[in-house]
Symmetry: C2
Subunit: 332 residues, 2 copies
């Protein structure tokens, strides 16, 4: 007899989130109806957007209500089915949330091909984070060969793809990451031209030394003081893609930008975006990203927490930059 | 015997500019060479960009050097000519600067048609400020019928055109200006739907009441706290066009933006621009603007200072919002 386990939201927070904001509960699995199927999740993806669903403030997405299962995307296998397109044994990506089992009717479910893309990559480089990088670069930033691209959270699920895709386009790529281990990985494994440790006391000097010939694209995953600093080096007609503001979740005042004059002087284009605004591009993006992963041209790293109970801690760690690469929770 | 008179830059300033930053001097008029012609300026245009040329900081344009004639655009008449296309009696718009006479070789000179556009309008609504409004709206903001457009410095040379063009497109238009007289003019003469006085102690409340259904386009001529406040009301997929930052010339810290989170949450596009980046569009813009002025669909107001000596004071007044409409200096 299968038993479900879920993480539900217990308490909202505008400040730092704690494990006590969540509760792990056991639950029954209701029988499936005609046209439905049951998924057993193998891995849960942990992503920065989740922080916004817990917040009390307006975000770009619906909140999770108190007592509801936390939202999230999993990869898993169909274990019961009364649906004619999703059959027992099929692997899928689904938004069933922080739980072991979820019932779906097929809407919004991506069936995963057995085509050589590792299962977990469908939650990272060949999933939402990879598509986010692809859309931000190809739709909004549009870097061309020889331009300089800077990306923050460079070893993360989005940043690592941004930098590698930019290298494939012939750009000079500078990463920003927290700690020497991450920076070494970004340069030596992912092939960026440089990576700066924002925790280093010489960060501002290093940024000046590395960016003094100008930045054409800044792909921003963090906001705040790093964005403010890079504004000093933006070239005329440069582009800033605003993808995340992880530095401001617990304290929006950390997102203050002083150096606003640069936007006018340098005629900068700034564009905030989220990947679900461009659903029409997902098929193309996933196809290209899948091919690049299979050919070894796109590399990635994963932090895998074990067991559903560890999901809250994994999200908390993600907000503090404790993960190294794509954060996942192994559920089976 | 014609004698020239010039205003030269005596001293740079990063702070408030004073009349003592300038010096009015007499000068000889050298003889013209073959292929040149002499212009007698009738009106000088006074524009916010001039402030940046005096500054010590990097701007988007070349500085005026100490001892050089201040840059500026005039309308005037050709009074001597050894050029086969510009003949004595022709009216032209030329960048001869803050002086009564200037020698040109035809490069960058716009010959003015005798087509019913008032002479001074060629420095305002049918000149650089009008083209700036046209490009900002049509290239960058692209408002559509039914959208809400907010524009600051609404009674000014750029803002007045932004608002009226937006009304012609079927938008709801909200102006922001300094003082009740300007606001009354913007609503009653220019036909905006509303205009808010930023000096009013209830400005924030009035802004909330007027913008609570959301803003699709903010055309920013001032920067700083007004931009920061409007970020609270921007709609998803809205556009901010950054045209001027007059609030930050003497104190760049006044341009700080705290409410940066709105850019991501609402997927806002921000674009800094200057009108000379789009020279290919000037002919089209000037033609459309000229027709709208002649048909009475585009109205404007002018503040005219008398005599070259009054030019420094006119620029100082412009930076403080003392002008009402397009600031000119009458030179003849």
């Amino acid at each position: 007899m299968k038993k479900n386990k879920q993480v539900i939201l217990k308490k909202r927070s505008n400040l730092e989130i704690l494990e006590s904001n969540f509760e792990v509960v056991d639950a029954e699995i209701p029988p499936i109806n005609v046209g439905e199927f049951l998924i057993r999740a193998h891995y849960l993806s942990v992503d920065p957007y989740m922080r916004g669903r817990i917040d009390e403030e307006k975000s770009y997405a619906e909140k999770v209500e108190i007592g509801e299962v936390m939202v999230g995307t999993v990869v898993g296998m169909v274990v019961e089915s009364s649906h004619d397109k999703f059959l027992v044994g099929d692997f899928v990506e689904a938004r069933t949330g922080w739980q072991l089992y979820g019932i779906c009717n097929g809407s919004g479910i991506r069936k995963l091909k057995n085509d050589g893309v590792p299962l977990t990559a469908n939650l990272g480089t060949v999933g939402m984070p990879g598509v986010t990088a692809w859309i931000g670069l190809n739709v909004h930033a549009q870097p061309i060969k020889g331009e300089t691209v800077v990306v923050s959270a460079a070893s993360g699920a989005v940043g690592s793809v941004v930098g590698q895709l930019s290298k494939l386009k012939g750009c000079r790529v500078i990463g920003i990451a927290g700690g020497h281990t991450k920076c070494d990985y970004v340069v030596n494994e992912l092939g960026f031209d440089a990576c700066l440790n924002y925790k280093d006391k010489d960060f501002q000097k290093n940024l000046r030394d590395t960016c003094n010939e100008g930045v054409d694209v800044y792909f921003d995953n963090v906001g705040g003081i790093i964005l403010d600093s890079i504004l000093n080096y933006m070239n005329p007609f440069s582009r800033i893609v605003l993808c995340g503001q992880i530095s401001g979740y617990s304290d929006p005042s950390a997102l203050t930008v002083h150096n606003f004059r640069s936007f006018l002087i340098n005629r900068i284009q700034l564009k905030g975006f989220i990947c679900s605004d461009h659903m029409d591009l997902w098929r193309l993006a996933l196809s290209e990203l899948g091919d690049l992963v299979k050919s070894g041209q796109l590399k990635y790293k994963e932090s895998i927490a074990i067991g559903l109970d560890s999901a809250p801690k994994a999200l908390i760690g993600l907000m503090e930059g404790k993960n190294f690469g794509k954060q996942l929770v192994k559920l089976l």
